[in-house]
Amino acid sequence: MSRKYMDNEDLDGSLLAQGPYMRAMLKITDLHAQIEAEEKPIIKGLNLEVPKGEVHAIMGPNGSGKSTLSYVLTGRPGYDVTCGSATLDHADLLELEPEERALVGLFLAFQYPVEIPGLGAMTFLRAALNARRRHSGEKELDAMEFLRLARAAGQSLGIGDDMLKRAVNVGFSGGEKKRFEALQMALLEPKFAILDETDSGLDIDALRVVAAGVNTLRSPDRGFLVITHYQRLLDYIKPDCVHVLHEGRIIQSGGPELALRLEDEGYDQLIAEAS
């Protein structure tokens, strides 16, 4: 574990509140989680803080708990949190239903976006945006108002009317699915977005488009957690900080150079050093 995070663990709540960590937007403390059906621990004491305006990357080998972390944070059924906490600003994520987590500003770009035959993409997007607007006391958008908005947002992601007319993710290519995730993110304007292996199944052109979509959403008020197996994605979405996840814990943290080192040396060496 790196110095920074060791120190962090040693601080008590009152000190945290005074220090630079007050800026932490997403704060995960000693998180333990398991798959409900198997009672097999996956996340084993994870600590992480992502300040407002920053992009943090989590890298790790297969089976290290990357996707489980994204599901536990967003409240997917089937996972048990046995210990620890996770907050977004001051909302206790683990106490909230998945939809409530979304409404306090959390967004997950899925590794495998789900196909929903029979549900039109536009109907889905408008229902999601209007749920958000209802929550924040804004007027709901009618079909025409929404269409204008969706078209404008879709344009920069190369999403045209033909795609918006199809059913959610049905018949979408790998690239189209990830662009559609990026479109949802652009429309919902979350406070904090988790990108779960957004690069999987993407060719380099699609990766550029999606990364550009993410980069335009970077802002001092928004945080990102980018989960990836490969360094490649981080060439396009430059992180402020890189964490290495292994067996459910963060074993090292550093700057963008850590990702480059991983690309050169592989995970094994780093894991050996950490243990």
């Binding site: 409240g75 939809e99 967004f107 997950l108 229902a127 999601a128 749920a131």
Partner: protein, 268 residues
């Protein structure tokens, strides 16, 4: 059936003896000869309703059968349909009733190029019982059929789907597809499904499938993760499940279907 059936008759074994006692047998059948393109909208009333339909060469019937939500006692609707060469029988059955309902369709495809398209949706609750029995007989070569029935069940409701595809000896180059999908929203609902393929020819593509499930957890989570409250997400998924029913349906059906779905979702 000419006499009153009993639960020992295979075709009626998933029925209700109490309901049968309130129906009349044999059904009296109105005849209808279709010689061009025609739409028949049948709003079923309580008791026994029968049709005997012939579709002439190249003609088409769009048959809409609705079991309305206000049926107050058991209803039985049966149709025998004969389709000549290049004729087309399109059927859309919508069941919104809270009663025992028997939906019966027998189609004989008797000329090359004849096609039957059977679509059905039932949305039932409480003690409703939807008993569907279809038979498609490919009597000659080069005939095709498609059948998709979908049901949504809650409470202690019961759905029955018995569907037969029969291909006559030497009726070659047949395509016959059959599918039944049920969405069970309660633990106490029940579905009996019995697909039956009787094939006496060898150059035939026939399929049947049956699925029974609750709403898909992954789809539900995907929608909720976008901020949609669970009830809202469930309603969207039920609508999505039923959506294809309106594809190619006569426009007369749209309003009734929409109202039916709305009412059903309100009761969730």
């Amino acid at each position: 059936m000419t006499r009153t059936p009993t639960l020992r008759d295979e075709a009626w074994r998933y029925s209700s003896a109490k309901a049968i006692a309130r129906l009349t047998f044999p059904p009296e059948r109105q005849t209808l000869a279709v010689s061009s393109e025609q739409t028949l909208v049948e709003v079923v009333s309580s008791g026994t309703n029968g049709h005997l339909i012939t579709i002439a060469e190249g003609a088409r019937l769009n048959h809409v059968r609705i079991f309305p939500s206000d049926l107050s006692s058991p209803a039985y609707a049966t149709a025998k349909v004969e389709v000549a060469a290049n004729g087309y029988y399109s059927s859309h059955v919508l069941n919104l009733a809270g009663e025992y309902v028997r939906n019966e369709i027998e189609v004989d495809l008797v000329g090359a190029g004849a096609h039957a398209d059977l679509q059905g949706v039932y949305m039932i609750s409480d003690k409703a019982h939807c008993d569907t029995m279809t038979k498609i007989h490919h009597a000659v070569a080069d005939t095709t059929s498609d059948e998709v029935y979908k049901g949504v069940l809650k409470g202690t409701s019961r759905g029955v789907f018995q569907a037969q595809i029969r291909v006559a000896p030497d009726a070659q180059r047949i395509v016959g597809n059959q599918m039944h999908r049920a969405l069970m929203l309660s633990d106490d609902s029940r579905v009996d499904t019995k697909p039956e393929l009787e094939i006496f020819a060898d150059d035939v593509q026939c399929s049947h499938g049956s699925t029974i499930s609750d709403l898909d957890e992954q789809q539900l989570f995907y929608l909720r993760s976008r901020g949609l409250p669970e009830a809202n997400a469930r309603a969207l998924l039920i609508r999505a499940f039923l959506a294809e029913f309106l594809d190619g349906a006569p426009t007369a059906l749209e309003g009734v279907f929409e109202e039916g779905v709305e009412a059903y979702l309100r009761g969730l």
